[in-house]
Amino acid sequence: MTTDDTPTSGSHRTDTYVFDGQTSRRGYRMNKLFMSLRDAPARERFLADEAAYCDEFGLTAAQKQAVVERDWQAMLDLGGSIFYVYKLAMMDGKSMQYLGGVFTGMTEEEFVAALRAGGRTDV
């Protein structure tokens, strides 16, 4: 497993993210955006112009692209905390099991089935 301080981005798939201080600094503005989506008026403004909303929060170009394209893996690699990223997923009607599938290369159904079979005990 990976527990170093700088989770890698790009094609490498990180086994385990450790949301440390550097990661939190990197993802701070993006996580603030996700937190804001708890409020319905904010969700409406976000959906009306996602790129502009990202600019308002000061996201980097890469973070903005990840958010607009719903690249969940990239959001983590760019400093997203799973609890914050999940706010965006909820807004889209996506479950934590859907995200689990994305992170593990499974469909949501396969991921749910793995959990219901006792979880992924061999990873």
């Binding site: 798939r13 990180t14 086994d15 949301f19 708890r38 609890f83 099991q97 959990l115 992924r120 005990t121």
Partner: protein, 283 residues
């Protein structure tokens, strides 16, 4: 003087609350979990505390990343139930116990634990799901007052397991000197093994969980010796929440009696457990 009458360790998975809120507890998927709670609920209903100290973590609802207190305590008279994105849970607001909160705060600070103070706090599923596990049908009001104790388990460095255990012991000492005749329950919430993100998402470790469930009663010192890396490796990146069980355990007597336990995989992405301990056996 006040005393801790029991301690409960329990997962606080949001879907457990959602299953109750939507009347799904008898669905085939959820029934085993809720059946597992039943003996504990019956015992707790016969042994009601005046106040519950609920040790939990917020999940980007009442607290954001602007300020990340390692340990914090609520001192409010009332805590609103948070809207986590799609409306608040249909459960009552939480009534606080400011006198006990302020007594705990002073005692803990004097004991070397410098807690952050929340005078205002919306409480999320981390606190309300354990309350629902204790009391599934609160009606208009929860059956006890609540003191929230918050722990940073989301952003590294989380407090060590040893520090959590020591904090719990200090909470126990503080309760013993509270000049009021209150019966107190302590909830340690979160866990068990789970990991939400990364290629290892969906990780569950029943061997570790069973060990932890046993040792929380009989050998908490061994659990307090686990490092953050041990916990992340063996319980998953979110399984580190289990350090909060050690605060509950520390507040209890060295000898406690296990009333009930249950373990179920999965609740959402998590191994869910409950362990209930009577604290009034060693006098």
């Amino acid at each position: 003087m006040s005393e801790v009458i029991w301690g409960m360790a329990t997962s606080h998975v949001p879907s457990i609350g959602a299953a109750m809120d939507r009347g799904k507890t008898q669905d085939p998927f959820w029934k085993p979990l809720f059946d597992g709670y039943q003996p504990a609920r019956e015992w707790m209903a016969q042994h009601t505390p005046d106040t519950a100290i609920v040790v939990y973590n917020d999940h980007a609802n009442g607290v954001d990343l602007d300020i990340v207190p390692t340990f914090a305590i609520g001192t409010a008279e009332r805590y609103q139930v948070a809207d986590e994105g799609f409306g608040r849970r249909p459960v009552p607001d939480v009534i606080g116990n400011p006198e006990l909160s302020l007594h705990l705060l002073k005692s803990l600070v004097d004991d070397g634990f410098d807690l952050t103070v929340f005078q205002e706090l919306d409480v999320d599923h981390g606190l309300t799901v354990p309350l629902s596990i204790y009391c599934p049908d609160p009606g208009d009001a929860w059956p006890c007052k609540v003191v929230p104790v918050l722990v940073n388990v989301i952003q590294y460095p989380q407090p060590t397991a040893a520090r959590c255990y020591a904090l719990g012991q200090a909470v126990g000492r503080a309760i013993a000197t509270f000049p009021s005749d209150e019966k107190i329950a302590v909830f340690g919430t979160g866990g068990m093994s789970h990991q939400l993100a990364g290629a290892r998402a969906g990780y569950i470790n029943p061997t570790f969980d069973k060990m932890f469930l046993e040792a929380i009663q009989t050998d908490p010192e061994s659990l307090a010796a686990l490092t953050r890396e041990d916990l992340i490796r063996q319980a998953g990146s979110e399984g580190i929440e289990l350090i909060m069980w050690l605060i509950m355990r520390g507040a209890l007597n060295p000898t406690i009696e296990r009333i009930h336990e249950t373990y179920h995989v999965p609740a959402s992405n998590t191994a869910a457990a409950l362990a209930l301990f009577d604290n009034r056996v060693s006098r």
